[in-house]
Assembly symmetry: C2
Homo-oligomer: 141 residues x 2
Amino acid sequence: MDIERIHFQQHGDHGGQLVSLEEERNVPFEIRRVYYIFATQPKVHRGRHAHRHLRQLAVAVRGSVTILLDDGTGPVEVVLNDPSQGLLLGDMVWRELYDFSDDCVLMVLADQFYDPADYITDYDEFLREANGYRRVEGAVA
Amino acid sequence: MDIERIHFQQHGDHGGQLVSLEEERNVPFEIRRVYYIFATQPKVHRGRHAHRHLRQLAVAVRGSVTILLDDGTGPVEVVLNDPSQGLLLGDMVWRELYDFSDDCVLMVLADQFYDPADYITDYDEFLREANGYRRVEGAVA
């Protein structure tokens, strides 16, 4: 599956902590967009879509959230609960976000601007495209 | 003083909130670096420096912090405590950060990579350069 966890260095001392993310350095793409999700109500599920062409890095800069990831071969659950842990997501990964803690702030860096046309929001359509995607990837490899 | 407050649209509903920042769109520069400050201990002051050539956008994505800003003509205090409020900082502004709430996460977007040579950490040196800077700016205007 096109996901990866990245550990970022914390620049900290007794006074506090700082994490620095730089495009094409410890973030493996150009940062065009930064968004953050907060004040998520209990029992809310977010996401439930995939992107055709989008690289993203997600960090729970506060609190925790669970993310289900699925490339069409079955789901994997990842918990983000550490400001120094990033989750790198590539193309064609279905994601669903839930179990947000009350205080969760999920920050996401993306290599493209917001583009509604890049979303696949129907899971069956996602499976069809994902199967084709894997065949092409396999053929190339 | 080369500072500005920006209000960002919150894309929200009963389930939660999202704010989206895009370079050269609602953020008036190219985003090269994103850093975040957290777990700051009580009574800690951070900052106490200026940058010669750096544009930054600061957002308290969680909690609150007070920022003292000074371009050499006297200080201004700004409180950041709203995830939809950004503070835009230009060149040659001395800043000091304090009164971090326990839960504060201060996210900063910057148009340059980290560069130790761009910091002015001595206030008297800052005043000397700031006076020269204002004279040049005045001459150009």
